[in-house]
Amino acid sequence: MKISNYSHEQLTRRLEGGELLLDLKPFVTRIRSNIPGIARDIALMYAGFETCPEDAFADFHVAVIRESGLLNWMKPRARFYFDGRPSFIPLPVSQSFAMLEWGLNWCVAAHGHQYLIIHAAVIEREGRAAILPGAPGAGKSTLCAGLINRGWRLLSDELALLDLDSGLVCGMCRPVNLKNASIDVIRRFAPHAVMTGPVPDTTKGTIALMRPPEESIAARDAPARPAWIIVPDYSPEASPELVPHDRALAFMLLAEQSFNYDIHGTNGFAAIARLIDACHCYRFSYSNLEDAVRIFDRLAGGCE
């Protein structure tokens, strides 16, 4: 059954009972929460996602629970639990859904060692995937959010899951994280995009989450073959430029941005080497999303 088929009451009840099994392909997450706002945000962001029966195998058991105590009565806070154990520091209740998202990222990065996990956005066009690695602030989420509203398919805005045997990459097609100025940039660029309300004062500033387009969600099972590594480099005055990037540097960047490169040892090294061999590497500086769409479309059209 899809999340969109649940009424608000049904969803709330399932969350309170810890019986909501969200199918995040390739992982199933069992979620418990007693925070009303979370049901609303899950309904909004994960509408097109399936749930699993209560007795299915869950890869991760997580909870976001309101903290008790006098201090929390005045300033309500919530905490993320991984399988019953409190993890991370408590945050204001208004940040509950963002905390759930960050907590899920942690679950995958800390346990999903069947993949080489790279901190990068992944988008796809006609069977070919572009991997966009980069430090926070380089504009990868904004770029990714812009492109998926113009025909590219979203795999992930944050976690690229590389299968070491097949060399294919998958994502979970979860909501895209937008920060600060990016929120308004995307609102103007894609007025129909569905977003959560902005949450101010998080550790990352003001954030909002954007729902991926329907087509991306419908195809979220399908992995893609990497064709490009593109290092985004946003700067307010930059003129759009796609230039070949040093392959050795791209290798080092992917290794550095991988959560479990060291755990895979020589297999990890070989996997990144194969990935680099199979891809064209570019650096992309931009200041404007319309330019980005034009240049990425030309790339997908096979001009470069």
Binding site: F57, A58, D59, P86, W106, Q114, I263, G265
Partner: protein
């Protein structure tokens, strides 16, 4: 045995996993993860050639845990190498303890085991030299508070843990195996005398088999927070099964425990290994330990506590009295660690420093659970 957690039963009888339902798999993975035994289970399943019969979802968690454990093993070997290089100028044997010792001696105990810190043992008169050499090679002290320094250096069996600035790895440098202030007085000199060399590693040593078992037992049954209690009990079980096959092992065990002052921890180790893990122990050894065993009332109290504490610290395993048991064992560990006046002084000191609320916590609840990294 029948009341054991699923993870314990699966480790004792891996063929059990061929008949598990989906919800049982869900529970098994969670208990294994929490008890730090998932990789060991993966290893046991592979050993019995049963991995093909594990459903794909749990299988990827088992293999993922095993991959992580393998990585920790190689990191641990490298860390030991770095320590030896750093201590090249110190003319003294370096004795590895616990996990690192099992690994470097290639014991089956190390298979699928997870590792965190390295523990080494050096004679007390060498501590200053070892510490300064480690510091020259990139390790830094962690407890900078005057009181903590004094607490470690005056009363403990180790100096404050050192952390490597670049690798972030930790090393505990011990000069004996129990705090100096502990009730149990250990004859440390004997441990040094019988240590055996690790082939191919120069001045690297591990404790002799009997001593290794006794140390593991002493460590576990003086521990206040038993987060890895079940894992440590499986270590003991594995050591006993492995060394137990050697001709003189069982004959030496109790006399050596008497000589070192470790009879009581050995008594508990053998009791709970056989009770919980069905470890085969010769009846003569049990009889040898009869004199001086705890009074029946103490014994039943310890059974109550350890049968709860030596199960995964997971919601599915908590029963009536789990909290009481962990609290009791936490207080007991402090009681064993130092004489009462010193204990009071220590807790008051902590209390004053941490504000009253925290002090009550320190007194009456086990250490708060560490957040996930």
């Amino acid at each position: 045995m029948s009341g054991n957690a699923l993870i314990t039963r699966a480790l004792l009888l891996p063929s059990l996993v061929t008949g598990l339902s989906v919800p049982e798999w869900d529970l098994l993975v969670r208990q294994g993860r929490r008890a730090n035994l998932l990789a060991r289970l993966a290893h046991r399943i592979i050993e019995q050639q049963l991995m093909d019969r594990v459903p794909p979802r749990p299988r990827s968690h088992l293999l993922s845990a095993l991959r992580m454990a393998d990585r920790q093993s190689s990191a641990m070997r490298w860390e030991v190498e770095c320590i030896l290089r750093a201590l090249a100028g110190v003319d003294e044997r370096v004795i590895l303890l616990k996990g690192a010792a099992y690994l470097l001696s290639d014991l089956p105990t190390a298979k699928g085991r997870t590792f965190a810190d390295v523990d080494i043992l050096v004679p007390k008169q060498r501590i200053a030299e070892v510490e300064s050499q480690l510091m020259l090679h990139g390790w830094q002290g962690t407890h900078h508070d005057d009181y903590d320094q004094r607490y470690y250096r005056q009363w403990m069996h180790e100096i404050p843990p050192l952390r490597h600035v670049k690798r972030g790895t930790s090393i505990d440098v011990h000069h004996t195996v129990l705090p100096e202030s502990a009730r149990l007085k250990i004859n440390t000199a004997l441990l040094f005398q019988s240590a055996i060399a690790v082939p191919g590693h120069g001045r690297l040593y591990v404790l002799a088999p009997v001593d290794m078992v006794l140390h593991s037992a002493t460590h576990l049954f003086h521990e206040g927070t038993l987060e890895n209690g079940l894992r440590d009990l499986f270590d003991l079980d594995s050591l006993l099964r492995h060394f137990g096959a050697r001709p003189d092992f069982w004959k030496q065990l109790v006399p050596r425990a008497t000589e070192l002052g470790m009879r009581r921890p050995l008594y508990y180790a053998l009791r709970y290994c056989s009770k919980i893990l069905n470890t085969p122990i010769p009846v003569e050894v049990i009889n040898e330990l009869e004199p001086g065993k705890p009074a029946p009332i103490v014994s039943s109290m310890m059974d109550f506590c350890y049968q709860r504490a030596l199960s995964p610290q997971h919601g599915s395993c908590s029963t009536k009295g789990s909290r009481l048991a962990t609290t009791f064992l936490y207080i007991r560990s402090h009681w064993l660690r130092m004489p009462f006046p010193l204990l009071v002084q220590h807790l008051l000191r902590k209390a004053m420093r941490n504000s009253t609320a925290r002090a009550w916590e320190t007194l009456f609840t086990p250490a708060p659970e560490k957040p996930e990294p």
